[in-house]
């Protein structure tokens, strides 16, 4: 087969080819390094472009955006420019209050909720990880009481402003009034929409809009940040956009899944846990209580997905990349999965589901469990897979064309709801444009928060394997090589781990031969770190890295033998 044309590559990148054609291209890609490199490059360019063209003006900008639009509409009407808006603006005063209500608090609460809820999951699954704890500690100051207070404003305003002036006639005035009112929520006449955290925690809004009191004593003892997460989880605003929702669906379920995190104990009582989990999920999907208290006639309840997705975007989430990377791939997915997660031998999930970043199921993905031997299955049409005998400590690799490989070491707390990221995607965890050195997303599961460094890079392919990469990637490679040199000079485990981290960053950006090299350098650095200062932690990371390498490296790659030998050294078993 000839090389893929630019158009074919472009369509492949966009996942826009008919299945028949796609299979042929996949087959070609499997054999053609040049085309793989082109695809990776195109993917990286798209990712860079997406970032470069994205600008978040911040919550403040959107807080009164709707008001400004309303004002403009009003002016236009006065101008009588012929675009007669359909709405008979002067009547419907109640509606206009709603229209003018300040969404600041909602927006803020929403961002916060998504962040905290996600962090909550991370906490549950990795509570022993100091980093997550610190991430949570960082996260908690961000959410403000104001966000919660303000979220209550809508309902109060609705009642209190029944005779408020119409938007069209006095937008500025209303804005001022709104500003004044928002902080003073606590003194507003409606006691049902309070700044009272406790009150809010006790009310749960069901998807059908009913509010029910709820027993939350278990959470009562939880840490402040967790409380906030729980609270704001209910109160998330619907500032989301459908697009964000589509795009960030992978984040939304994470929020769903994390809702139970604060509420569930360890693995003690599966049945109860499941029940709580279910109800918590309902909560996450329920509309904000404050909004429900006095819903405007036209506003339907808002789906949780809309909140968390929108709020998960942008800077705030970027700042919490650490937490996210830990959570990535660990979101619970559906009831069935949750059931599976809870019911298995040794509490290790046996079945899971693979989705892409948009939340679509990924069928035909190759799922490989590696420990003593290799067990490979493919996801079915629903993206589901089951692996019999999956045990804690196994390494699970999920791969599919067009996606970064995803590797995770199975633990009792591992959720097998896997989210695959597109190849070379420069997401929040990416490094090329962020300038941050973070582990590759695909390795986040295996590597954890800190990674190791390559050592036997002398064995690596020729240095110009990165020649075709963008300058950003080449810079990363230079950094990684520098770190490696330093580590070799100093001979410290920490140095090699730093180097490994750098290589992981490279790994996140490349595909094909460069990825093989970076992966090898990464394993090599981890091995050096482990040899200098063997710890269980390092061994675990090294094992995962070796597994991933062996799972991904082409059979013809010379380094395979080396890594296989390392594996044999490590486990005393025969390396594969």
């Amino acid at each position: 087969m000839k090389h893929l044309t630019d158009e074919q590559l472009s369509a492949l990148l966009d996942d826009a080819l008919p299945a028949g054609e796609r299979a042929a291209y996949d087959a070609h890609l499997a054999d053609c390094e040049a085309c793989r490199a082109r695809l990776a490059e195109a993917s990286a360019l798209d990712g860079s472009l997406g970032r470069a063209l994205t600008h978040d003006p911040g919550e403040g900008y959107f807080a009164d955006f709707a008001e400004r639009v309303a004002k403009r509409i009003a002016e236009r009407r006065l101008d009588a420019r012929g675009e007669r808006p359909l709405g008979p603006a002067p009547e419907a005063p109640k509606a206009q209050k709603w229209w003018l209500m300040s969404p600041r608090g909602l927006a803020l609460a929403g961002s916060t909720a998504a962040l905290l809820v996600t962090a909550g999951l991370a906490w549950m699954r990795f509570h022993s990880e100091q980093q997550v704890v610190s991430a949570l500690q960082q996260a908690s100051p961000r959410p403000t009481m104001t966000g919660i207070e303000k979220q209550s404003a809508p309902s109060e305003n609705d009642e209190a402003k029944a005779q408020a002036p119409p938007a069209a006639s006095a937008p500025a005035e209303t804005r001022d009034a709104d500003r004044l009112r928002a902080p003073a929520t606590g003194s507003a006449p409606n006691p049902g929409a309070p700044r009272d955290l406790a009150r809010m925690q006790e009310v749960r809004t069901l998807p059908d809009g009913r509010q029910v009191p709820v027993e939350r004593s278990k959470e009562g003892a939880s840490s402040p940040s967790r409380e906030e997460a729980g609270t704001q989880g209910f109160a998330a605003p619907a500032t989301g956009s459908a697009i964000a929702q589509m795009k960030k669906r992978s984040v939304a379920p994470a929020a769903d899944a994390s809702a139970p995190a604060p509420a569930t104990a360890q693995a003690g009582a599966p049945a109860q846990e499941k029940e709580e989990l279910q109800s918590s999920r309902k909560d996450a999907a329920a509309p904000a209580p404050a909004l429900e208290a006095a819903p405007p006639p036209a506003s339907a309840p808002r789906p949780a997905a809309a909140f968390s997705t929108d709020t998960a975007r942008g800077q705030s989430f970027r700042e919490w990349g650490a937490a996210k990377s830990i959570v990535r791939g660990g979101r619970a997915d559906d009831a069935k999965l949750n059931a599976n997660t809870n019911s298995l031998s040794g509490l290790v999930a046996r079945c899971g589901k693979v989705r892409d970043a948009r939340g679509r199921v990924v069928a035909g993905a190759q799922v490989t469990a590696i420990r003593n031997g290799v067990h490979t299955v493919r996801t079915d049409a629903e993206g589901s897979f089951c692996i019999d005998g999956l045990k804690a400590g196994d390494t699970l690799s999920v791969m599919h064309v067009g996606f970064d490989p995803h590797t995770v070491v199975v633990t009792p707390m591992t959720s097998l709801a896997i989210t695959l990221e597109p190849v070379g995607t420069l997401g929040p965890n990416s490094t090329m444009l962020m300038g941050k050195q973070q582990p590759s997303p695909s390795f986040s599961g295996a590597v954890g928060a800190h990674t190791g460094a390559p050592s036997e890079s002398a064995l690596a392919p020729s240095p110009d394997v990165y020649a075709g990469q963008s300058s950003g990637v080449r810079q990363l490679v230079r950094d990684a090589r520098d770190a490696t040199s330093v580590a070799r000079r100093e001979r410290t485990a920490q140095g090699f781990e730093r180097a490994a981290k750098q290589w992981a960053a490279v790994l996140g950006q490349v595909q094909g031969a460069p990825a093989d090299d970076a992966r090898f350098q990464y394993v090599s650095a981890l091995r050096d770190a482990y040899q200098l200062e063997p710890t269980a932690d390092r061994e675990g990371r090294l094992r995962s890295a070796i597994t991933a390498f062996l799972a991904l490296a082409p059979a013809t790659l010379p380094e395979r033998a080396t890594v296989a030998r390392w594996e044999a050294e490590l486990s005393g078993a025969t390396g594969r």
Binding site: P57, P88, W98, I243, R358, A365, Q366, K436, A515
Partner: protein, 209 residues
């Protein structure tokens, strides 16, 4: 298993079909109410879509004031035309169409004024967290600015198709819907746009390094 790209057909194939027909039930209710003149409902729609609309507007204008104007104007026009919106259709592609149409006319008015390099640099720098290394910011910001500048040199229709794909992550179906062009054209235009962007980027990098 030797493949970085294992074989197998991708499931998410033609995701657009699913997504385009996926009008949010809440949106449908809000649109219906808006069509009856309920400004509250429309206000809610604004809040739901303001970010997506602004994001697209910003990617097509790459400056705050134009993006703000474009985004606001989009909703003003949407309000004016909401009566003609076909209920049950997803709202965003329709809004995106308004954004791109306006951006096109802005392009025409300005004759594709070349990008300034200072402003994006500063803006990009502001996006990084305080804990980040300033030197890295500069390098990142430069890369972003270069990318934006090259993007700004592309033909408007190429910019639009790339922005809808790379920034908004719309499917081909959705892009076809937004731009009112056949899917085949989306495919070829995207490919050309990417090629052109890559070429310009290479040229520019050559100049710089």
């Amino acid at each position: 298993m030797t493949l970085c790209f294992p074989r197998g057909s991708l499931p998410g194939m033609n995701p657009p079909a699913v997504r385009t027909s996926d009008a949010h039930p809440e949106d449908v209710a809000l649109v219906a109410a808006s069509q009856k003149g309920d400004q509250a409902a429309f206000g809610e729609l604004v809040r739901r879509y303001q970010r997506a609309v602004h994001r697209l507007a910003w990617s097509l204008t790459r400056n705050d004031s134009d993006a703000d104007d474009l985004a606001q104007e989009t909703f003003v026009r949407a309000w004016g035309a909401i009566g003609r919106f076909e209920l049950g259709q997803p709202l965003y592609p329709w809004l995106a169409r308004i954004v791109t149409n306006q951006a096109f006319s802005l392009f025409r008015r300005r004759k594709r004024r070349p990008e300034t390099s200072i402003e994006p640099l500063v803006e990009a720098g502001q996006q990084w967290g305080v804990e980040d290394d300033p030197a890295e910011h500069t390098a990142d910001a430069e890369r972003d600015a270069r990318l934006r500048a090259c993007f700004g040199e592309l033909a408007p229709e190429h910019q639009a198709v790339l922005a809808l794909r790379a920034v908004q992550d719309l499917s081909y179906d959705e892009i076809a819907n937004v731009l009112s062009i056949p899917i085949g054209t989306v495919m070829s235009r995207l490919s050309r746009a990417r090629g052109e962007l890559k070429r310009r980027l290479a040229e520019r990098s050559g100049e710089i390094t």
